[in-house]
Amino acid sequence: MKPLLKVSGLNAWYGESHILHGVDMTVGEGEMVTLLGRNGVGKTTTLRAIMGIVRERKGEITFAGEDLIRVPLHRVAHRGIGFVPEERGIFSTLSVYENLLLPPAVAEGGMTIDEIFELFPNLHERRNSQGTKLSGGEQQMLAIARILRTGVRMMLLDEPTEGLAPVIVQRIGEVLKKLKERGMTVLLVEQNFRFASKVADRFYLMDHGKVAGEFPVSELSARMDMLHDVLGV
């Protein structure tokens, strides 16, 4: 498989605290990769560093063969990457509908509004209310939905199932599978192990700001012991 995203030797800092100590990973075109790790090991930071939201970083990040390090933040999305943050980032001054329409489409082939509403009927029902008046789970749906519209090639999802009802988690699983059929690439950070095991092709395990291990989904059961050690699953 052709690598779409390639990260090597990525270091990142928040002010004086050094969080990432040389992260290496690749994500192939059309692949769905999950990043596992305990709280605070730097999963979110990895995604933010790839996006360029964390600017204090060193190392190499290439996307579709192009260097991303020097690209200004507002041009990164136009290369075809979408980011769904952990804290969701719904805008209170915009209605649900405006929130949905906010990110500009960066390429052809995104979902239409109708498809999105079909996928998340709650959003349709509450489309005129203020974005942050949605329930926690609804906000999560909105955060994912708004990226689906833009036609990106790759999504970075930070704990997309947090706080979601099991039915919705299932539905998101299905959505991800559908997206994968369409050729979407996903890098996922997840605590919900069961969910991750259903959608991911491959896992990276993070520890102390580094990648501590890597394995395909087929080896999952064999690796359970190790996971137990590192994650306490």
Partner: protein
């Protein structure tokens, strides 16, 4: 029965988020409030703690009608909540976060004439709470620097510091690693021996093992009630909330 609500209702503009909800929370029991996203769980919490004023209905806490009481008063009466999106004092250390919570119950909140060292009497209790949630390494770290999961744990510690009679926990395990989930579950179980706990949680295995009683909310109305086994058998609950998965 320590906390009960009758005919609770809340409208937002034309939208009814909570409709005719009756709820009874009992001493020494863990009561789960579950339901699909947007069902109105957090809103019920907000109504019970009086962060929102109900459009209709009454709330009774420990035999007193609190339908028109201010939220801080409700907290002082012994009903304390945690928040779905974590709420800590970001620039205070972990220790100070817990001490602030301890100040009022220990009568050390309004003394502007006493030195800060007066608060040192709270250290013992604070350390104990910090140890209980496994934050002793981060004791002197500033809360803002904690990772998300650790912040949630800290929030539970501050909530416990108030020694509340009724605890309302809004998704206490969300965003926590597996290890912490186990630990927090254990804490809740421990706490509930002498208190009433009402919690919102999407992690069904936690609900299954921890909760004595489950109320399922859907579109602001109660869909089903009972112990976990009964509720999870209910086909309406399965389609509306649980999906086909097993806990």
């Amino acid at each position: 029965m320590v906390l009960s609500a009758r005919g609770l209702r809340r409208d937002f503009g034309g939208f009814t988020a909570v409709k005719d909800v009756d709820l009874d929370v009992h001493h020494a029991r863990v009561h789960a409030l579950i339901g699909p996203n947007g069902a109105g769980k957090t809103t019920v919490f907000n109504l019970l703690t009086k962060f929102l004023q109900p459009t209709d209905g009454t709330i009774t806490l420990l035999g007193e009608d609190i339908t028109n009481t201010a939220p801080d008063k409700v907290a002082r009466m012994g009903l304390v909540r945690s928040f779905q999106i974590s709420a800590v004092f970001p620039h205070l250390t972990v220790l100070d976060n817990v001490r602030v919570a301890l100040q009022r119950p220990n009568g050390l909140a309004t003394q502007f004439w006493k030195p800060l060292s007066a608060l040192d009497t709270l250290n013992g209790k604070a350390e104990q709470l910090i140890r209980a949630v496994g934050l002793e390494k981060e004791r002197n770290a500033v809360a803002a620097d904690l990772s998300y999961g650790r912040k949630r744990v800290l929030e539970i510690a501050t909530t416990l510091a108030l020694d509340p009679k009724v605890l309302l926990l809004d998704e206490p395990m969300a965003g926590m690693g597996h290890e912490d989930v186990g630990m927090v579950a254990e804490i809740i179980r421990e706490v509930a021996r002498e208190r009433a706990v009402l919690m919102v949680e999407h992690n069904l295995s936690v609900v299954a093992t921890l909760c004595h009683h489950v109320t399922v909310l859907q579109r602001g109305e109660i869909l089903a009630e009972g112990d976990y086994a009964t509720v999870s058998e209910d086909p309406r609950v399965r389609t509306a909330y649980m999906g086909t998965e097993e806990a």
